[in-house]
Amino acid sequence: MPKLTLDDLAKIREKTKRLTTIRVGGEYRAKVCVHMGTCGIAAGARTIMNALMKELEEREIHDVLLTNSGCAGLCSREPMATVEVAGQAPVKYVDLTEKKIKEIFEKHVLGGKIVQEYALGIGSEKTDY
């Protein structure tokens, strides 16, 4: 018996490709940005980020880009996150909790449907990179 068959090789390739997609900039179905200014962190943004990491891991999803950015300027409504489904306008969510972000992840990020009741509005501030 050979140690590795052609099928095994293909499996290793597919798996590692998924795990390293972010290095080569593949296609993403959505981008989620958690605002991580001091205000955001104080209000619990880390919990939001951890919840999102857990969602990605448990569902083995590799085509959602998870990033963070600084304070969005609306410190009173933190924690905040911006969801941008490919091809659609970004949506800002405010006053987040772990429960809310899980719902948003399921309905908006995966399902493509904006969760109106948690949303602040459509659009996003510009970043310089």
Binding site: P2, I22, L66, S69
Partner: protein, 610 residues
């Protein structure tokens, strides 16, 4: 095979450059600091730290590229790391002051692909640079690694593999540019005596001063070389291969060893590769660092355990090489090109480059250049583009004078030929050669006679001594040039030098002697006026050859600007300076040994050199 572990995804990958350049600049210290800070911020489940091979922009090391987004951080110190981790990875605010700002500009360029150094590069041999951990075979496989070997072993006949390589137009990247497909065909056709043994060798004996292409490939992507060799072995029918690497390349040897072990574990080396019944394995042979061992017959002698000396050809190694068996020997970069040619096809490869030189070439760009580093460019690119667009031009606003390609065997190409398109033929026509890809840039402060002397000193020392023209010829040429740099040359010396250069070129046994006169011949061809200045005027125009310099002190400037600071007199080793504090100083020429110390120490520009 081993059971697949649960997939662990990270939202940020930190690609820490761990090529030899960055490692010597504390890359591992940076990596440890990153690990520490990431843990401190509780980000260890979100941020993955990866060590990669050489990123290429060595001038700016230690380097870190943040993915996604390819944010390029440079010249990092351990002190920068806590701030960087907190700001960028925790709070999402990239740190501008650690980014690359082009000279003379004020705004940093955050993204790697927007930086001029990277813009014009085309990566084929270096296709995985900065993207994988060279010590993880799975990451190589994810970049379509070992896909070509599967194709070559299961879908293609050996003859087809050779045809594909021949049609791609790939030529040897070690220097001479022999068509790779033709070489493979010769080895395949060679009648194998006693038990049909044939061998494969990867030539990693990189000896040119300032060259580090092979080392970087071995360090950054060892599996690409292994995969190329398995394909080559299958094509020519070899069952054993050797990677010859200099012992001065410990990191390359370490990573190659790890890669070979991993490939064996996966059954990509050894018996019955991928269940196809094909057997092939690789061993590493460490070379002791003799320049001549880059020559294939000397290298073979060294692998056999004999003194590394060349022999006459024919027979060529393809007919009778290692232990007198047909042997396929290619350079590291050539091997690294093979898998992607098989994977993407000859047509794709042949669409890049010029009529006679296909694909890309890796160069190590060094010397008087702003962006020192490793670059891969398509054949046919102009020298000017490499030096000014990628290399960022000459530091300190100095004038470009010449570029030396091909190492000690190459030649110096002057300013007038800056628009020369790089390929095997054009470089040879200019009196130089492609060589393995060293590119040493020289500015106006370089004396071309001194450059010829430097390279000749190297080849004289490295000449193995087996044949007379090289052994005696390099020494005789060096004697003449040294005489010229000391102001003792005559007009006849130039003719003698030229005659001797041609004689050594024509009659030496191996490539070392055949090419050693190139630096002499090209400097004579393009910079004859500099030789003449040394001989007729007893002057070195660049003031490099100190024996020809005359040092004087502008007494007025010394007194009025420097207030007779006395620094020069106190530093003079030969007691040749007269004067005292608050007085004008002067040099007694008879006592001056022309060491130039007074010139170097004077803070007021009062010491003149002519």
């Amino acid at each position: 095979m081993a059971e697949m572990a649960k997939e662990k995804a990270y939202r940020i990958h930190l690609m820490v450059c761990a090529g030899t350049g960055c490692v010597s600049n504390n890359a591992f210290g940076i990596k440890a600091a990153l690990e520490r800070e990431v843990k401190k911020q509780g980000l260890e489940n979100e941020v993955l730290i990866v060590t990669t091979g050489c990123n290429g922009f060595c001038e700016r090391g230690p380097l870190l590229v943040v993915q996604p987004g390819s944010i390029f951080y440079q010249q990092l110190t351990e002190k920068d790391i806590p701030h960087l981790v907190e700001e960028h990875f925790l709070k999402g605010r990239p740190v501008k002051k650690l980014m690359y700002t082009p000279p003379k500009e004020k705004t940093p360029v955050p993204v790697l692909s927007d930086i001029d150094f990277f813009k014009k590069q085309v990566l084929i041999a270096l296709r995985n640079r900065g993207l994988i951990d060279p010590e993880k075979i799975d990451e190589y496989i994810a970049r379509d690694g070992y896909k070509a070997v599967a194709k070559a072993l299961t879908e293609m006949a050996p003859e087809q593999v050779i045809t594909e390589i021949a049609n791609s137009g790939l030529r040897g990247r070690g220097g001479a540019g022999f068509p790779t497909g033709l070489k493979w065909q010769m080895v395949r056709n060679a009648p194998a005596s006693n038990g049909s043994l044939k061998y494969l060798i990867c030539n990693g004996d990189e000896g040119d001063p300032g060259a580090f292409m092979d080392r970087s490939i071995l360090e950054a992507d060892p599996h690409s070389v292994i995969e190329g060799m398995v394909i080559g072995a299958r094509a020519v029918g070899a069952s054993e291969g050797f990677v010859y690497v200099r012992n001065e390349y410990p990191l390359a040897i370490k990573r190659m060893n790890i890669a070979i072990e991993q490939a064996r574990d996966y059954g990509l080396l050894g018996n019955n590769i991928l269940g196809t019944g094909f057997d092939f394995d690789i061993k590493i042979v460490r070379g002791a660092g003799a320049f001549v061992c880059g020559e294939e017959t000397a290298l073979i002698a060294s692998v056999e355990g004999r003194l590394g000396e060349p022999r006459t050809r024919p027979p060529y190694p393809a007919q009778s090489g290692l232990w007198e068996k047909p042997t396929l020997i290619n350079n590291v970069e050539t091997w690294a090109n093979v898998p992607i040619i098989i994977d993407r096809g000859a047509k794709w490869y042949a669409s890049i480059g010029t009529l006679t030189s296909k694909g890309t070439k890796v160069f190590s760009l060094v010397g008087k250049i702003n962006n020192t580093g490793l670059v891969e460019v398509p054949m046919g690119i102009a020298l000017r583009e490499i030096i000014y667009d990628i290399g960022g031009g000459i530091p300190g606003g100095k004038e470009f004078k010449a570029v030396q390609t091909g190492g000690p065997s190459g030649g110096c190409i002057p300013k007038e030929q800056l628009d020369l398109p790089i390929d095997y033929e054009s470089l040879t026509a200019a009196g130089s050669m492609m060589g393995s890809g060293g590119m040493v840039v020289m500015d106006e402060d370089t004396c071309m006679v001194d450059v010829a002397r430097y390279f000749l000193t190297f080849t004289k020392d490295e000449s193995c001594g087996k044949c007379t023209p090289c052994r005696e010829g390099t020494k005789a040429m060096l004697d003449i040039i040294t005489r010229i740099t000391e102001g003792k040359g005559t007009e006849e010396d130039l003719t003698l030098l030229e005659d001797m250069a041609h004689a050594v070129k024509d009659s030496s046994l191996c490539g070392l002697g055949k090419t050693a006169p190139n630096p002499v011949l090209t400097t004579l061809r393009y910079f004859r006026n500099e030789y003449e200045a040394h001989i007729r005027d007893r002057k070195c125009p660049a003031h490099v050859c100190r024996q020809l310099n005359v040092y004087t002190i502008d007494e007025n400037r010394c007194l009025t600007v420097g207030k007779g600071c006395d620094l020069c007199r106190r530093n003079c080793a030969s007691d040749a300076i007269r004067g005292a504090k608050n007085e004008a100083h002067r040099i007694v020429q008879e006592k001056c040994i022309k060491c130039g110390v007074c010139y170097d120490v004077c803070n007021f520009g009062a010491v003149k050199v002519d």
